[in-house]
Subunit: 322 residues, 2 copies
DNA sequence: CGCCACGATTGTAGCGCTACAATAATTTGT
DNA sequence: ACAAATTATTGTAGCGCTACAATCGTGGCG
């Protein structure tokens, strides 16, 4: 910075101001400084700046996986909203609770301005670490009891809407697929909501199977076969993700079963593949970009977690498969 | 840090050593310090550390997209290799050249120990910025003329192998799909390699179409229809990604065309969907995790870019579709 | 023409940590 | 048991930048 100051004939402080508070510097001076900086390939040392100022303009997001595209829209929402506030977004991939803890430690070490977590099974100690740090935190897809503030849509309502839709289509023997591990506490609401609607319609609500992984088409094939063994007259299944649903559709095709003729297949999450499949998947569209946007707005607002989770919208996307 | 030092009854320097060079501190002392640090929820301020030490233990990766899973293995390879060296990986998503430049600036501002780029169309000035900074850089999927050091597999050889395979299967009218924008300079080698093999076999090499996007199934459907209009006797197509290939397969099914009976469809990239499709896709498996690993090793090694790009292996994955 | 108000610019004093050399505490060898 | 060798620990002096208050310039107005 010193070099730039000398080369531009101003004080180091003016150079600093040019980068941090362009408004405080006269147009001509600023242009001259920026010109010199560009020529010398100068990039301000954020660490030093942060150390001096005590706050950075970076927010960090920890993502559980890149295995599928479900976090694409979320990340875009985060990124765009951050940019709108003049912040940069850095992301870290953490597939296990341990990795997540370590990622959060790195982010905390970087003294980012805020951290966006995704709901799931967190390491014990993560909450305390974050609370102690005083860094603003949101938990996307999180509900009550989220670390920091929760932001997400009403999974129970979505599950009810989807179940009601299947029932309205005349489906009677509906299989429900659960995911065994990970995922938000909030997703636990899917099953009770399903049961509630089935019960209300006087239908059997015990066709429930649990799948290990929600990504990878294999689960869908496996689940379909298990269901059919359990209840040959099965006429609909409700999958935890579009990926699993797609796997189930493929397996139906392999077995010569028509979708939705013989079996209705509903997905969850509005993945790209669900749109492109034949038939296109009926699914729940979570508007993940809205979650990202809201998450940033919570982080910026520095609101305490007093008002409960922020609700974002969702949509029941009715297509051909169910 | 001061607080920890006082609470643990040692000097601040010992606390620092506990975190940076655990070996330099006696086991008992270290444990005591860590205990106190954990209780107080202390996380070292990386910025300050970096400022003082001049080097961080974080490497940054800029990814062009999360739209599909093609960078999942790459990121895993990067992450694991970084962890093996005691480094953390942070990633930034940049979908345009501008965003990439800005991401690199942030990373440079963070003074990361190394930057991993993905080959593609870079903003002018990016190279100069990185050269000036002195930060180690690799360009994954990059070849000759990469920014920093290139790491990737031999795309030309892969294209030749795939083309030869199709020819050996008795295919004669093979359509080749190019991607219009983005992508590595290196991918430009796919077409000449295809032409070379077709020419050598005395086959027509002019069935070439260009597609705008390599992600999204829509492209595949569109391309298939265009090819069929151009050459009704088409018996094979060579797609730029498994996604496009999957789209083409779906379109074949819609049209009642058998794959591979009527038309062989080859993908590229060994995506999850290619494995799960009926029929499974013949494709090029790039071992992206190896690219990630090599990238980190180049970054750590601090090798100059004198020896040309680092070659990683690839495999011709022969499955049912072609 | 002098004085004031206001915006632009500039010193000063750290931010929290680590490299390095110096010092203290141990262990080892005889 | 004592010197020598080894290992543990500790001051000192910044790293590059920014908050803040103090200064400097410049035009407006009486």
């Amino acid at each position: 910075m010193q070099d730039i100051a000398v080369a531009a004939g101003v004080s180091p402080m003016t150079v600093s101001n040019c980068f941090r508070y362009p408004d405080r510097v006269r147009e001509a001076t600023r242009l001259a400084v920026m010109q010199v900086a560009a020529e010398l390939g100068y990039v301000p040392n954020m660490s030093a700046g942060l150390l001096a100022a005590g706050s950075s303009r970076v927010i960090g997001a920890v993502l559980p996986s890149m295995r599928n595209s479900s976090f694409y829209n979320y990340t875009c929402g985060l990124g765009r909203a951050a940019a709108a506030h003049g912040f940069e977004l850095i992301t870290m991939i953490a597939e296990t609770g341990e990795e997540e803890l370590s990622a959060v430690q790195t982010l905390l070490g970087l003294r980012v301005a805020g951290i966006a977590l995704v709901a799931g099974e967190h390491e014990p100690g993560l909450r305390r670490l974050l609370d102690r740090s005083g860094t603003p935190v949101v938990e996307s897809w999180g509900g009550e009891g989220a670390i920091g503030r929760g932001v997400g849509y009403d999974v129970g309502a979505a599950s009810r809407a989807l179940t009601r839709h299947l029932i309205a289509q005349g489906r009677r023997r509906i299989g429900f697929v659960q995911v065994a591990v990970g995922g938000s506490q909030r997703y636990a609401m899917r099953l009770p909501a399903f049961r509630q609607e089935m019960f209300a319609a006087g239908l059997p609500d015990s066709l429930v199977l649990t799948v290990r992984a929600a990504d990878g088409f294999g689960s869908g094939a496996q689940i379909l076969n298990e269901f059919l063994a359990l209840e040959p007259r099965l006429d609909a299944i409700l999958c935890p993700t579009d990926i699993v649903a797609a796997g189930a559709v493929f397996e139906c095709q392999r077995r010569g079963l028509s979708v939705p003729g013989d079996i209705a297949v509903a997905g969850w999450g509005d993945y790209d593949i669900g749109r492109q499949l034949t038939p296109p998947l009926t699914t729940i569209a979570p508007f993940a970009d809205a979650i990202g946007r809201e998450a940033v707005s919570v982080l910026m607002g520095g609101q305490a977690h007093d008002d409960g989770p922020v609700e974002t919208p969702f949509a029941l996307e009715i297509r051909e498969s169910a």
